[in-house]
Symmetry: C3
Subunit: 131 residues, 3 copies
């Protein structure tokens, strides 16, 4: 297992970690296989979406806020109840196929770490399987 460290600078922010994962694949010399990505935090998640126009990330963040308002009254008293809900909506685990020593993503896809309660120092776990 490898660990990718991520530093977030806002309360809510999507950070592209695709190249960080590609580096591990190159270093580990995995030509063909599977890449498992895991977010070990309960107020952050993972998603795959557009890597070109940054307004797509803005729209996803704003729409999640619209659906799960941060300023609503919740039971959990730490002021980050919305962050927990948003983390479960995005999810904690992903798997991507590896071919030709590269993640087999679509042309417009990037892998995003979804911070919902930053700024914080975060980690992403990555496990590669040669198969």
């Amino acid at each position: 297992m490898k660990v990718v460290s991520v530093s977030t600078s806002k309360r809510v922010e999507f950070i592209d970690i695709t190249s960080r994962i590609e580096e591990i694949i190159i270093k580990d010399k995995i030509n063909k296989g599977l890449c498992f990505i895991f977010c070990p935090h309960t107020t952050a998640g993972l998603t795959i979406n557009e890597n070109a126009d940054p307004s797509v990330r803005k729209d996803i963040i704003e729409q999640l806020e619209d659906m799960v308002p941060s300023d609503k009254s919740y039971s959990h008293s730490e002021g980050n109840a919305d962050s927990h809900v948003k983390a479960s909506l995005m999810g904690s685990s992903l798997n991507v196929i590896i071919e030709d020593s590269s993640l087999k993503l679509g042309t417009w896809q990037g892998i995003y770490f979804c911070e919902f309660d930053g700024p914080r120092k975060r980690q992403v776990y990555v496990k590669l399987v040669d198969c």
Copy 2:
């Protein structure tokens, strides 16, 4: 890795791809193992849900539209911002266990390709692991 081609005929549409994946398992003679399914598009996703009553798909599609309206004003200017949000809500990757040369799904489960910005020609990546 195998590729399943999917042609969608509407803007939003859930297409059952279960039998297409089962065919690959039979052809590859995988008796026991894991099936990894990946959607390489940013305005489409994957989900597993009811394969019997088609009204369930209709309800999921309508409820997603209720939560993420297509006619709202978004930053992304291509008219498909809602499609990107819906894709992230459904997710891009799935894994299903294989036993007896068959997907180990529940009785009422089908695997759906979720088109949110069709009609288009789409692809789904499938990787099988014998284990």
Copy 3:
């Protein structure tokens, strides 16, 4: 493949199944590898979220109800259309890395079976891979 049986006692309820999965890892003597978890039901799902303050689960459940009301009129006539939508929002499959014979979760993470149409007798499929 191993099966974890879960008995739910309410219509909507999140049940921590982490220790049940850890038991399988110990019994199967998997030191390093991957754990694949699958929910074979269409009105239930899986999520990973906070294992400490139970109010987080309460907030997720109430927020999902706010987004997908159970008392709305839907096409599906079994009175559980909202349960199907919520199941797709949480998702059916998860993967977690195994290290030192233990799930490599974050400190505050637990794995939850998300019942959306209980009370029922349910199952969760678990497959471990030594790698």
